[in-house]
Amino acid sequence: MPETHPRVIVVGGGLAGLAACVRIAEAGTPVDLFSMVPVKRSHSVCAQGGINACNDVARQQGYSEWQHMDETLIGGDFLNHQPPVYEMAHFAPKIINLLDRMGVPFNRTSEGMRDLRLFGGSLFKRTHFAGASTGQQLLYALDEQTRRYEAQGKVNKYEFWEFLWPVTDEEGRCKGIIAQDMRTMEMKAFRADAVVMASGGNGLIYGKSTMSVICNGAAAARCYQAGADLGNPEMIQVHPTAIPGEDKCRLMSESARGEGGRVWVPRQQNDDRHPLDIPEEERNYFLEEKYPGYGNLVPRDIATREIFWVCQEGYGVGGENQVYLDITHLPQATKNKLAAILEIYEKFTGDDPREVPMKIFPAVHYTMGGLYTTYAPYDPETDTITPASAPKREPNQGMAFGDPKNMMTNVSGLYAFGESNYAYHGATRLGANALLSCIFDGLFNGLSVANHAQQSGAGAHGTPAAELPQSLYDKFLKQEQDKLAKITASTGSQDPYTIHRELGVEMTAAATVVKEEGRMLQAREKLAELRERYTDLKISDTGHYTNQNVSFARALGDMLVYADALLEASLARKESRGSHYRSDYPERMDEEFHNTSRVAFNAESGRPDITWEPIPSPLVPLRARTYGKTDVVEDKKTQEQEAAAS
């Protein structure tokens, strides 16, 4: 590979990574794209629902980009930064148009317009979708455009390559990466003038989640250990209804409950009768009992917690973490309507949900926290983009387009995009905002990366990567080679898969749906124990070719580090906010905690250092997260139901 200047490396080939590739290559900067899997197999394919953007129909009904921003902020319980969210909401319609031009088969109206659907957190139809696999369609569209640039030689793909470490120069600027071919095990240093981490979420820390097997968070954890801080790592989204599997948890759409599905557990613990043999009076419809008004349709977080609690008390089906979601009583017509999701259940469990109640449990679904990033707020004084004829925005309305600071971590030249970036979703992510934030990062902030790379070597940005001494890269290469050699040579007694399973079980129990100090302190002990055991690994594959065993063991070490940061931030945030629910601190406490938990890795102790960074609210003042309008509607419904019952 000829070393040209400037050059950019993108780590991760999901929506964020590919969007970044396309934008950076378009800006004329060659890109080296690294991915552990062929990029077309990235986890983005799993997103089903859709992508949010204000549109003409919604606009004529009173919706606006501003409201989209507002929904995102209140959804995130104001833990997100307002200027980036403003920019994202306002940029969203352009993204949809672009994807449309790229050929994404968005569902259509009879007139041939893009169809829209209603999604959580909004009263307006603002979600664009392509069948039941929107993420897959969007990823493929960006994959195709990337391939186009690849065919032109502007993008180089390194698929089946694992990111190991960011290379930083003397001044701490990111100047490349160390990566390893997972097939030949060849390890190499790559030079770059900017590096974009688009490495996704970290569900694997929880053992089983709804995420792909590649979402282990190791790449972000490695950057964290190399000096990039984490932001709000305690913010993890849990989906209330997933199908627990031996290998992973798969989503079960909420429409099953929407159409009349009932959630229950046997009244008797460890009742091993067939569910249909358990008479009505011996079933505990716990949601309906506790919330007679809303019943099975209580808000997501309540459903999640109740299911969690009932299992914690030992009433889970078969003594395990699962409850029944029963649609067997529904009329055939309704079952037909739910066919698509019922088939998924049948395919992966072998049971027909039309005949036997489904077994479901909440599962970790999305990582809102991630690498801490910065941005340059919009400033009309420095705005050179808006045409002279158009009115300029107010300060802080968005970000300064193309400013190299946008979504850069605290390590100069190291960027974080997509799910690995903490910026957009605060304490909870709204449905159908994930695809948006990923593509937005790539397309809007891609230019910032290209600009940074262009400026690299000029003044404050140090020497161009192509001119840095080889010894710098060799140093980091050796560090990684030594690390790998140490793991490969370990002859201890601890199986990495067992440690991983225990890590998952512990994290799921202590730091998902309900967090509580005592339990988390216990988990802290457990993590310390696992870290200790990790130093005594047993490696069953000592080969030097496509050694997945060693790769996994190495990533496990990074998962343990990330889990530690996640747990410590969960302990430190003594309030409840969004998806972070502390049973011992059930209120949101803005005075103390309307702050980003910024977590830095302490290289000496090997433990996290947490500082609290205030979040400015230049656009929308804080308010309670009540979903006012929705509640009115639902209150009315409750009253009607109560009236009907009496």
Partner: protein, 260 residues
């Protein structure tokens, strides 16, 4: 490490292993405890954590490829009991019931070079996408308004093709697609059609058809129609082949009379 509990019901898994493409293949057998709703991936995960064969030999864990485990990423394609499929959606107990045997046989796909064990290199499929210019030639990422309108029927047809996850089942089952020929197979042909059907994608239709009329193109299809039967996404692959066949016929006649 964790020996199967003698009271537990178990079944056998025979795995065709290969240390690298250049190395000879060999079979190993493992005993795995029966669990409800256990897919092939869980079986492989169990073996990874307990890599001991039935003859008591401790071996290197089996290498395989997987991703989403929801049948959308296309990574975990394997040959299970002689038939190609996604291993994540293959439940062990159903498979045993289907074959009536006491064991499951896992092999890597035979049409692609083996990287190791069950892990194969499907780069050829991605290269073929490049060959048929499987993209819409947009003018760039600037805000240039919406894309072309299309009817719900057009969308529905294109959506079917756009679900192709490059898993390779169609190629594995195709008698015309072999390791040493150049046939592009159903996957690339269907993708060419997908883009030929898009208003802007059409701009490259001629180039795509030129590519597909050359060696390895559509004409190499032998109409065994296996592709459509093994496609996990039920993509109408044979219809795609026929439609591209029609486009090629028209293209050839047009070229004969009007090409320079």
């Amino acid at each position: 490490m964790i020996a199967p509990n003698p009271s537990e019901k178990t079944f056998l898994v025979r795995i065709k292993r290969q240390d690298a493409e250049s190395q000879p293949a060999y079979w190993q057998e493992f005993e795995v405890p029966v669990k409800p709703a256990q897919n092939i991936i869980s079986v492989l995960q169990y073996i990874a954590a307990n890599p001991t064969t039935t003859s008591g030999e401790d071996v290197e864990p089996v290498v395989w490829d997987s991703g989403c485990l929801e049948e959308v990423c296309g990574a975990c394609t394997m040959v299970v009991d002689g038939q190609v499929r996604q291993s994540c959606s293959c439940l062990a107990n159903e498979q045993l019931a289907k074959t009536g045997k006491d064991h499951i046989e896992l092999e890597p796909m035979t049409k692609f070079p083996v990287v190791r064990d069950l892990f194969v290199d499907r780069q050829r499929m991605f290269d073929n996408l490049k060959k048929v210019k499987a993209w819409v030639p947009i003018d760039g990422t600037h805000d240039l308004g919406p894309g072309p309108k299309e009817t719900p029927e057009q969308q529905e047809e294109r959506y079917a093709y756009s679900r192709c996850m490059t898993c390779g089942c169609c190629l594995e089952a195709c008698p015309q697609f072999t390791k040493d020929n150049t046939f592009v197979g159903a996957q690339a042909i269907a993708q060419a059609l997908y883009f030929n059907q898009h208003e802007t994608g059409k701009k490259l239709k001629g180039e795509r058809l030129d590519e597909l009329s050359g060696p390895g193109g559509v004409a190499d299809c032998g109409n065994s129609q296996n592709c459509v039967k093994v496609c996990p996404k039920e993509i109408p692959l044979t219809q795609a082949i026929a439609k591209v066949g029609r486009q090629l016929t028209v293209h050839a006649v047009k070229n004969f009379f009007s090409a320079k």
